[in-house]
């Protein structure tokens, strides 16, 4: 599989209708008598990408589940949308596992949401998304025939196909090779533009390229800390010297938080 398919014009997907902000109050996670975090308050600003960093096991994915409204033992907190409408039905989640259906073709996997909702799927739009992911030739294949990076891109296409104004992503680019990751990060900024996004990542450079805001979850019990991002508009070029300096500061902050 070659990844050199030219990406279609950026921003080709329709901009979501008025993405709401998301307010989280009193988020807490207690598990096995251990308090991972409690009384966390934070906001996702409307139409902005917020990147969430932190050491493994600190509870980033649980925070994502809380916002998605997926219960989990010991997880609590109040999540509201800034427009006071329910978030259900306006939210897409890309989990760490790709959750591709092994029996369905790549194209059918992308359109699963419509099938489950009982509305007519739009193969043309799904094909278009796949083409932008460099997967046009793989549309008819089953997931088993794909590499880990390709699977992750299919999951990304499925998430974007949902057309939700609020998107939660858990390490969406982790399985990609460096070149594809760099290219997709650049394009993701265009796809995600205008949507309210929470992006969990382990990659400081990714957070600095894509995030309008940057949150670090660390400590015991974990606290949220907002770090400054470079002033340039997203996606920030990876070669920006300001980015290098910010990455240094971010790594130092992460290392300090991780120290016992």
């Amino acid at each position: 599989m070659i990844d050199s398919v030219a990406p279609a014009a950026a921003g080709a997907s329709p901009p979501p209708l008025k993405a709401p902000g998301v307010t989280v109050r009193g988020a807490g996670l207690r598990y096995d008598r251990r308090c991972h975090f409690e009384a966390l308050d934070f906001d996702l600003r409307p139409g902005e990408t917020t990147c969430l960093l932190g050491p493994s096991g600190v509870g980033k994915s649980s925070l994502l589940r809380l916002i998605a409204g997926l219960g989990q033992p010991g997880l609590s907190g109040l999540v509201t949308a800034s427009d006071r409408q329910p978030l259900a039905g306006r939210l897409a989640l890309m989990a760490q596992q790709d959750h591709l259906l092994p029996w369905a073709s790549v194209l059918d996997n992308v359109m699963l949401g419509d099938r489950l909702r009982g509305v007519a799927p739009e193969p043309a739009r799904a094909q278009d998304l796949l083409q932008r992911m460099g997967l046009a030739a793989a549309a008819g294949l089953r997931p088993r025939a794909l590499s880990g990076g390709m699977r992750q891109r299919v999951a990304l296409a499925r998430t974007l196909y949902e057309g939700s104004p609020v998107i939660l992503m858990d390490e969406p680019f982790s399985a990609l090779d460096a070149v594809t990751r760099h290219r997709l990060q650049g394009e993701a900024a265009a796809w995600l533009a205008g949507r309210t996004v929470l992006l969990v990542t382990h990659d400081p450079l990714e957070a600095l390229r894509l995030g309008h805001r940057l949150l670090v979850l660390a400590g015991q019990p974990a606290q949220l800390r907002e770090l400054a991002v470079p002033p340039a508009a997203v996606p920030r070029p990876a070669g920006d010297p300001l980015l290098a300096a910010a990455q240094d500061r971010l790594l130092a902050a992460l290392a300090a938080e991780a120290a016992p």
Partner: protein, 262 residues
């Protein structure tokens, strides 16, 4: 061709062993007939065997079809809610715990000497493996997939959400498990039919065996037994093949412990 050789070698070995017992122990023909005598019975009585084999085959097939439908229905019912499960599961288990032999006379009494009672028997015996295997498969769906489906349909799904969940997600995911249940069902379905024929029937291989036994025609009884075994093997192969075709993504290794050769 290569796939046919191995079963033929197994069959040949079995025949050799049989012949060896005949030669070495020399049992009287009414205890153990020789392979040759049974082969002659197979050829001479082929019309009779074909007729009664056909009856049994039809009973097995109809029982398998009906039992599968019932099993699938019961499995779906078990998976709908924990409350329903508490009420229905004891019934499902009891249906299997009651020995088929014990209720066979009852079924014959209710449904008559014809095919209906045999179909009911086959149905009863395969209902359990199908139900349990499918219910297990439905219950083992990756919770992450269910979460994803919940988010995709949350707040904006049309009516019939559970039905579509079954068609597009739960059903296909549980299909390999249903395949395991069906393979067991295919292998045990003949028991139900033959037990039914044993208790009271007007035809079928079980009936034929019973009568051959009563008239000390042990070679005919063995011939009927061979036809029954062949029938069961054929049925299993057909079900196995169908499930492989239906679930190509679930094809695993047939011999996972085998070390790859260099």
């Amino acid at each position: 061709m290569k796939r046919l050789i191995a079963p033929l070698v197994t069959l040949g070995g079995l025949l050799l062993f049989w012949q060896a017992v005949i030669v070495l122990a020399a049992p009287p023909a009414f205890i153990l007939p020789s392979p040759r005598a049974v082969a002659e019975a197979l050829i001479e009585q082929r019309g009779l065997l074909l007729k009664h084999g056909g009856i049994t085959a039809l009973e097995i097939l109809l029982g398998l079809g009906l039992g599968t439908l019932l099993g699938v229905g019961a499995a779906v019912l078990l998976s709908v809610s924990a409350g329903i499960r508490r009420f229905v599961l004891p019934l499902v288990i009891a249906s299997q715990a009651v020995p088929v032999f014990a209720i066979a006379p009852l079924l014959v009494l209710w449904l008559g000497f014809g095919m209906a009672s045999k179909i009911a028997m086959a149905c009863l015996i395969i209902f359990f493996p199908v139900t349990i295997a499918l219910a297990d498969g439905l219950g083992r769906l990756d919770p992450g997939l269910l979460d994803m489906a919940r988010l995709m349909t949350g707040g904006r799904a049309r009516r019939g959400r559970r039905w579509r969940l079954l068609i597009h997600l739960l059903g296909p995911a549980a299909l390999p498990a249903l395949g395991s249940g069906l393979r067991i069902a295919a292998a045990v379905a003949p028991i139900g039919a033959v037990v039914g024929e044993w208790v009271g029937a007007a035809g079928g291989l079980g009936w034929l065996m019973l009568h051959a036994n009563a008239r000390a025609k042990i070679d005919l009884m063995f011939a009927a037994l061979i036809v029954l075994a062949a029938l069961a093997l054929l049925l299993y192969r057909l079900v196995d093949l169908a499930m492989r075709r239906l679930t190509p993504w679930a094809a695993g290794s047939a011999a996972p412990f085998e070390e790859p050769r260099p």
